[in-house]
Symmetry: C2
Subunit: 484 residues, 2 copies
């Protein structure tokens, strides 16, 4: 420790070290209006290399952001490895200002926030949360001063007035939320901002101290939620009857009827602003591509998107594993079809050793939370596993190899995967065991007969849609209630 | 050529070949309501691998998109190398529907569109433009049919009614725009859609034909606009007087005054929704970082962003060179400060041979167009070159090497660049000669004395701001007039 350095120099040095060690930092600023968030962030970034940070003004969600689950705009902005993100207002807004602690959804909201932070922290992100405190008297004084200044009075808006009126009530709520979210891995610091320069020093000290601890490895991290801690699901019903099939004439007739239903469904979803996520997983050559094509043929391309998931690219590697899925979530009223999905973590990445054991074991819980966040937002989630037997796979591999138009579809990797059928089966059983939750169940598509699987896929989607329409999640109501 | 293939098979094969050859394709669909754009795109994509295309519904700009130059939302979505982008409605909307051909800005709009297309085409993008034609009678019939269907009548909106009312006028305007933008490198195809299945075949044939020509290398490309074709600017005034300096006390006083002005300026820009782009270029060790810091210290971080430009990353390499700058443009009311900029193309990329000669030579013109697009949107653009002499650079390099806190700032690359001073000077003279336009002039910051340069930077910014406020570009008015 070089004690001769001043605070900005220390911050500058720490930023470089964190960058080299690829450690990401999230610094949250919260506070009432006129507490000076802008000023404090600006003083901090003066010490930093602009290549290494981004500042996000999160006070008001855009119209597009409102059409996604509430955490979407924050997941989108988590910093890549080695970088710092400053959040000027954050995921606390709703709990602070739009929710009475007596509200029945309050506990759920706190849990939601805490899960988000613990997921990031477990992945190595440093989280620093700063609340800039200001008394009623001081806030009133500052607002009056702004009002009197003709060049600045436009800054005073409804929020200011409301906060002055409800100062006490807001502060009560905020203090409670802070207490409930003051986790060792994401602690709060309350900073008195009556004297702004002193506040800057306090803030810098907190940040320097946290970053140094992170570099020493002495920062607390949440204990990972391993699969053993999760309720196990029955998976008896996951032994598919692969003899199920459909004749060509029956298929044609069923397809015609289903296409009309899919088209009508899309129209209704669009009008009612309900989004849908369909994910396809399955054995190689089980027929995912063809199944997706039959589904999309009757849909309007303006309202759906097929999202093929392969190995993560450079940018995706620089973020938490779930980042790339959060980013691609459909906006309200739209349909996203994932051709392979976040379950890659628990299948290919586990089997091939691309993810280390703690990382993939954590993912069962993280994926459940992720899916739960979608469902709470009102998304219809449908998860498909396309099942075939090994003989059928072999026959299809060989047929591809003999067809000059399909040779490109079959690679040495497919053969290597096939050789690991057993290891994938073990991983798959765990996927079913721990992620086949009542609200986000798996559906097996028996795909030895592709026709059968295609019709069943649409039937399952139709059923999920009907069930959602006749039985909206009570969260939708809560969302409206809280939505500020 | 395998004539035994059907159309979807040909498309499938062509897509794979284009992907392997890293050729990007832009397919634009335009047409009146009910012409069937959605249906036609959906039929096309059934033949394609979803990993290789994206469909964009561009009919209505979002609130964020409206706060950027009109082409911003299209630049953001140009496909990466080897990929296809389908645009359902496009950059033609304004010319088609919001602009009388007799409008004084009409010619400008056509030029703007044509420049965009020729820039992409010159960079290797294939551009296919399809107009789905429909008669008044047929449109009326389809709208009536929609209206009568209780499940679909919600789809009929103001646009439909308006288009029926003004069918003739719109079609006159559209036909004229199509004639004026039917370039060999980005030709239009008008497709009769009264019989939708036949239309699909025609569309597929056009696309197959164009893609095949592109692969054979027989697709016309625009002739590059080389610097010699551009008006040369006087550059006598670019020999800086590097003896200019400012004493510490004078600096402190000037700084104090300028900081107030910068802060007030930011407030006004924010309120009036005018954005500003400041770019910094200059010799290594000329003091860009320190200059930017002094400028930003008095700004609110919610309203500005420092954007450091280094070597392009993987994703950036997959797009046209200007893509990464378009993406980072500030929204209305915000300030973007580029620490290095798009001029890297004409400096480091030229000198180091990272860009081939035709590519960087084309860039003079492309950059002028890019800057003109900003100015037309009302952006205040300020371009700085930080000038120092070689002795000063040497002294600063040596000082950095001796300071343990600054050693990281100096790398062998800096020394290599220094050895190429002469080559950079030649490139720089060309930059001034061809891009010092009256509306986007360069400003030299004499930076042997850093204090002098810092104050001058803010003075230049202040002057640019004053000039913009007292003399708004007439484009702002036109924008409102046309803005649909």
């Amino acid at each position: 420790m070089q004690t001769s350095e001043n605070r900005p120099q220390m911050l500058d040095r720490l930023q470089r070290t964190l960058h080299d060690k690829k450690i990401s930092t999230i610094i949250v600023f919260e506070g009432l209006e006129t507490a000076g968030i802008g000023k404090q962030i600006n003083r901090l970034i003066q010490a930093l290399d602009p290549r290494g940070y981004r500042v996000y003004d999160m006070s008001t969600p855009s119209s597009e952001e409102k059409q996604h689950p509430p955490l979407w705009r924050f997941w989108n902005r988590i910093p890549p490895k080695g970088q710092i993100a400053f959040f000027d207002h954050s995921w606390y807004h709703r709990a602070f200002f739009n929710m009475d602690p007596a509200h029945p959804k309050y506990a759920e909201e706190i849990e939601h926030i805490s899960d988000f932070e613990s997921t990031l922290s477990a992945d190595g992100y440093i989280i620093i949360k700063i609340f800039l405190d200001i008394s009623y008297k001081e806030q009133k004084k500052r607002i009056m001063k702004l009002r009197k200044n003709p060049a600045l009075s436009w800054k005073v808006g409804n929020r200011h007035t409301k906060q002055l009126q409800k100062h006490e009530r807001y502060m009560l709520s905020i203090r409670q939320v802070i207490t409930h979210t003051d986790h060792p891995y994401a602690p709060w610091t309350i900073v008195d901002t009556h004297r702004q320069k002193k506040a800057t020093m306090v803030i810098m000290d907190v940040i320097i101290d946290t970053l140094q601890k992170a570099l020493e490895g002495s920062l607390p991290t949440p204990s990972p939620v391993l699969p053993d801690a999760l309720p196990k699901m029955q998976i008896d019903n996951f032994e598919p009857d692969l003899s199920l099939s459909l004749s060509k004439p029956d298929y044609r007739e069923a397809l015609k009827a289903m296409r009309k239903k899919m088209s009508a469904m899309q129209n209704t979803l669009y009008r009612k602003k309900i989004s849908m996520v369909v994910l396809y997983e399955g054995w190689d050559a089980a027929g995912k591509g063809g199944n997706i094509k039959r589904l999309t043929r009757s849909l309007d391309p303006r309202g759906y998107q097929v999202i093929p998931i392969g190995a993560p690219n450079d940018e995706e590697h620089q973020h938490h594993y779930l980042w790339r899925f959060w980013r691609r979530l459909p906006k309200d009223g739209h349909i996203a079809i994932f051709d392979r999905s976040w379950y890659g973590r628990l299948l290919v990445e586990r089997v091939e050793g691309f993810a280390d054991e703690v990382a993939w074991k954590r993912s069962f819980h993280e994926i459940r939370q992720f899916e739960e966040a979608l469902i709470k937002h009102g998304v219809i989630l449908v998860k498909f596993w396309l099942s075939i037997d090994q003989d059928t796979q072999l026959r299809r591999f060989e047929a591809r190899q003999q067809d000059p138009d399909k040779q490109w579809k079959i690679t040495p990797e497919d053969w290597r995967n096939r050789a690991k059928w057993g290891a994938y089966k073990v991983a798959l059983d765990d996927v079913f065991r721990y992620t086949n939750t009542p609200r986000a169940p798996w559906h097996i598509l028996e795909s030895n007969c592709k026709r059968y699987a295609r019709i069943k896929a649409m039937e399952v989607i139709e059923a999920a849609y009907r069930s959602r329409m006749s039985n909206p999640p009570n969260m939708t109501k809560a969302r409206t209630l809280m939505g500020g």
